[in-house]
Symmetry: D2
Subunit: 284 residues, 4 copies
C-alpha cells in the first residue's frame, strides 16, 4: 500500500491526536480531521473523514459503545450506523481489540496497533518519564536533587526515568529481578536492589513504580518514610495497595496517561512516526 | 555568640519559613514561630516571639512599612511600635537593607543576610533549576528530551540548570562571555556560544535566561522560532523585552521565586543551614 | 549439585584465572590451582588439581591439542593421557566446543560455558570498554574529550562504551540498524546514524567498531580523516579491511582480549560470579 | 602589536611544542621551528629562528643554564652568546621566571607566560584528567567502573577528573575544604567529604590527589586498603608521604606532566590558543 497519495483521516482523540494530525500535515501528507473543533477550525464532518484511505483512531478508540473518544469536541462522533464505511480502510488505533469487538467484520490485515510497537514504547517512555518527574515536583515540597529515589523496574520507563533522575542529581536506586538487568543497573553507576527485597525501603524520599503487579503491599508501605511520595506508573490496578497507603497517610499517586497530559505534541509526533514506520514496512 | 542555648524565633514568611522552623526543631534547637497559623497550631504571639534571642525574618522582610510579610497568616505582624524590642537581638533576613531602612538604629554587627552568602546562592540554584524545568514542562506541549535548549549565562544557576537539562536528554547550548567559562562549557561536553552572538537563535525550542541585563531585545526575539518557550530567571526587570515578545506572539515567562513555589522545604532547609553556618563562623 | 563443600580446581589460564581463583578463595571456597607458578607458590600438581570436584578451564581451554593454555607457567599441563579423570566432573570453560572436540565422551549436562551467559557478556563489556578507551589514549596524541567519536553498533559493548566516552566529554555518534536501537540512542542524548550510512564519516577523530562484519570497506576508509584512529573490537576477522587501511595510512588497531590485558582482576571476578550463578541455578 | 604578519618561532620543547607549531601553521601563521629534527625535516637553525618576531619557548624553557630543552633533537640550542638577539622580541614561555633569571635585561612587558592564564589551566585540566585515568588503568588490574574512588581537591583538575570518573561509572567521592565547594560536589551528585577528615579512607580502591600539601601522611596511609592505587597529581613534592607509602607496600605514583605524555597534540593546541588569546588582548 503506497501511502504517498493517500488521505489520512484523524478521528477524534485528545491533544495527541491534534498534534498527530499537525505532524502529518507538516510531513506533506493530505489530512482530514474531525473532532477537534475546540482547538482548530479545520475540521470536517465524520462522513467526510471516513472517506479517507487511512483512518486513525485514538489510543483508546471509543469512549462508550461505538462513540469515538472526543474530549476536544462538543459533538459526538458515533459510528453506530457507519460500520460499513470502515470496510477496506487501513485503520490505526492503540487498543485495536476494542475495534474488533465493536466491528467484528474488520479484517486483521488492515487494522494496526501503533501502541504495540517496540519503537512506540521506547519513544513513549520519554514523555512518561518527564511527566513522572513533573508529578514528583508538583506533589512534593522538596527538590529531587539530593533526594533518595527508588525506581522499581528496569524496563523502558525504568531505564529512561532512572537516567533522568540521576541527571537531575537524585541518588537513584533501581530494582529489577533478572541478574543481567541488575548487572546493567550497577554498571550504569546506579544502586541496584532485587525487586521486592527492599531492606532499606525506609530511606527513600520518592518511589516510582513501573512494575504492573502488587509489589508494594501493606507490609512494605508500613516501612516507608511517612512523607515519602509514591508515584505509580504501572497501568491499572497498579503496583501498590492504594487503600493501605491512604490508611497509613502515604501520598500515593496513580499517574497514568502522562504523555497526553504533559507532552501531547511529542506524544502525537511519536504516534505519527510509528504509523509511518508501519506503513513503510507494509509497503516494503 | 553560642547558639546552643538560644531561642530561635521565626517571624512570618511563606512555606520556606515554615520549613526553616521545622528544620531548626529537627536539629534540636528551641524555636518560636509566629505568622503560620494557616499551617500549624504551634504559633505564639509576636511579642512572645520577639523575646527570642535570634530573630529570623523572611527573605523580603516586610510586605508594607514595618509589617512582616505573612502570607500564611490571617493576622498581620506589625513592628511599628516594637522597634525597641529588636535592640541587641541577632537578626537574620534576606534583604537586610529593608531592615536598616525601617530601623536605622539596628547595629550592623548584629544583622546578617543569609541570602548574600555564597553557600546559600550555590544551594539555592538547585530548587531554582528544578523549578525552571517544571515551568518548561508545564508551559509547553513538548518534551525537553530531544529539544534544542539555550541556557544564557554560566553562573550558578546556569551551571546547575544546564547539567540538569542535559541529564534529561536535551541538546544544550550554553552562552557565556568569559573565555574561561566558554572553555568550561565545552569541556563539560555542552555546546558553547558567546552571550549575545546568537547566530543560530532560530533553532532553539526553549531559551532559559539567567543574565540580568537586556540580552534578548526585539531584534533577537524576531529571529526566534515562533513557538519557542522563553523562561527568564533573571531578577526584575529580567533579560528580555517582554513587550516585544508579546507583540511577536512569543511565550515569555518571567519565572521568579521558584524555590518558594516548587520546593519550599528544600529552600527553607537551605536557609536554616546557611544561618547555622553563619552562627558557627561568628562563634569561631 | 551443592557447591558448598566442593573443591574448585582452576587449571591454567592467564591472570584472569589467577584472580578467579583468588575470588573463590575470598568467597570461602576450597580451591586448588595449577599453572600459575610464575605468580604464586600455592600451586599443586595437575593430578592433584584434577581430583577437585569442579574443574575450571580458561576461556580458550587449550593452547595446542590437549595442552591447557598456561601463559603463567613454565611447565605444560597436558591432558593427553588424563581424559578419564575428567569423567563425572563438573567442568567450566569459555569455548566448551574445544573441550568436546578433544574429549567427545564428556557429558553435555556436566560441562558449562561461562562466556555464553548474558550476565557474563553484560559485565565483560565494562573491562572491554575501559580497555578500548585506554587503547585510544595510548595510540593517539589527542584527548578524547572534545573529539568526535563514532561507535559502530549498539550491543552491550556499544552501549557501555558510548556512555563512557560521553562521560569523558567526547562528542559521540552511535550507529545501529534497528529503529528501536536508533530511538534509544537518540533519547539517551547521543547522535545516531544508521550503520553503514555514514555520510559524515570524514568528521570523526576516533572510530570504535563492535560489529562483526565488514562494515568499513575500502570505500568507507577512503573517506575517513587521514589521522583517524580506528579501534576494532569485533572478533576476528573484525569489521574493517585492515589491508586497505594500511595502504591508506590509517591507523587501525584490532584490539582483542582487552579484559585480560587491562583488567584481569575484574575479568576473573566476572567469571567467578558467573560460575557461582550457574551453580546456583543448577542447584535450585 | 598586530600578530598577523609576524613570524612565530618555536624554539625546542617536546611533542607539545611540535604540535603547537603545527597548530600555528594550520591557522595560517608563518612559523619557524628549531629543535624537532627527530620528528620533522622543516627545522631551521637557531639563528634563523631567533630572527622571528615572536619567540616561543617550552613550558620549562631551559634544560640547563641557557640551553633550551630539546628532547626531540640531537643538537643543543644554546643561547649563551645570543642574549642580545632576544631584545625587543615578544617572548612566550611557561616558567618565565627562568627566562628573567638567565636574561635579566628582558623587558617585563614583552615576556608572557601562557601557563599562568586561567584559560590555559582550565583547558589543560582535560589532558591531565585523561592521563590520570590512563595511569589508573595501566597501574591496576581492576576496572574503574564499579570501583570506589576518592578525588582529593575540587579545583580545576578535581572538577574535570571527578566528572570523567563518574562518567566511566566509578563511585566517586570528592574532598574539599570550602563549604561552597562541598555544596557544589553534593549538588553535582557526587559524595563529598572534608579534605583531611577521611573517616572512610579504607574503602577506596583508587585515590587521586590534586592538593599540593601533605594531606596523606603516614597515619592516613596506614588506614588505606593495602591494594589501593594512589595517584598524586600535585606538583612536587606532592601531597603524599611517598616514603611511608613504600614502607607500607602502597602503590603511590607521582604522575606529573601527563598532558605531554598522553595528549601532546591537545596540549600543544591549548598552548597555541592561549598565545593567540594573549596576543589579541595585547592588540585590543
Amino acid at each position: 500500500m503506497k501511502s504517498d497519495n493517500k488521505i489520512f483521516s484523524v478521528l477524534g482523540g485528545d491533544k495527541r491526536s491534534y498534534y498527530l494530525a499537525k505532524a502529518f500535515i507538516k510531513d506533506g501528507y493530505e489530512v482530514r480531521c474531525t473532532g477537534f473543533d475546540m482547538l482548530s477550525q479545520n475540521c470536517c464532518t465524520l462522513d467526510e473523514a471516513l472517506k479517507g484511505d487511512i483512518l486513525i483512531f485514538p489510543v483508546i478508540p471509543f469512549s462508550e459503545g461505538k462513540k469515538i473518544a472526543t474530549p476536544l469536541s462538543k459533538d459526538s462522533l458515533d459510528l453506530e450506523t457507519k460500520g460499513n464505511l470502515l470496510a477496506d480502510k487501513i485503520i490505526f488505533s492503540g487498543k485495536t481489540e476494542m475495534l474488533f469487538k465493536e466491528f467484528p467484520a474488520l479484517k486483521k490485515d488492515k487494522v494496526f496497533s501503533y501502541s504495540d510497537r517496540e519503537i512506540f514504547s521506547v519513544q513513549n517512555a520519554v514523555p512518561t518519564a518527564e511527566g513522572a518527574i513533573t508529578e514528583a515536583v508538583l506533589n512534593s515540597d522538596k527538590t529531587l536533587n539530593g533526594s533518595k529515589v527508588l525506581v522499581c523496574g528496569y524496563g523502558r520507563i525504568g531505564k529512561v526515568l532512572s537516567e533522568m533522575l540521576r541527571g537531575i542529581g537524585a541518588e537513584v536506586t533501581v530494582s529489577a529481578r533478572k541478574s543481567s538487568d541488575l548487572a546493567w543497573i550497577k554498571l550504569n553507576g546506579l544502586d541496584s536492589v532485587v525487586t521486592g527485597e527492599f531492606a532499606e525501603i525506609g530511606k527513600f524520599d520518592y518511589i516510582f513504580n513501573t512494575v504492573p503487579s502488587l509489589v508494594f503491599d501493606k507490609e512494605k508501605l508500613s516501612k516507608m518514610k511517612s512523607d515519602v511520595l509514591f508515584i505509580d506508573l504501572a497501568s491499572k490496578p497498579g503496583g501498590v495497595d492504594f487503600k493501605s497507603a491512604k490508611d497509613l497517610g502515604i501520598n500515593a499517586i496513580h499517574a497514568l496517561a502522562l504523555p497526553g497530559k504533559y507532552s501531547p505534541r511529542s506524544a502525537g509526533e511519536i504516534i505519527e512516526s510509528t504509523i509511518i514506520t508501519i506503513l513503510k514496512e507494509e509497503d516494503g
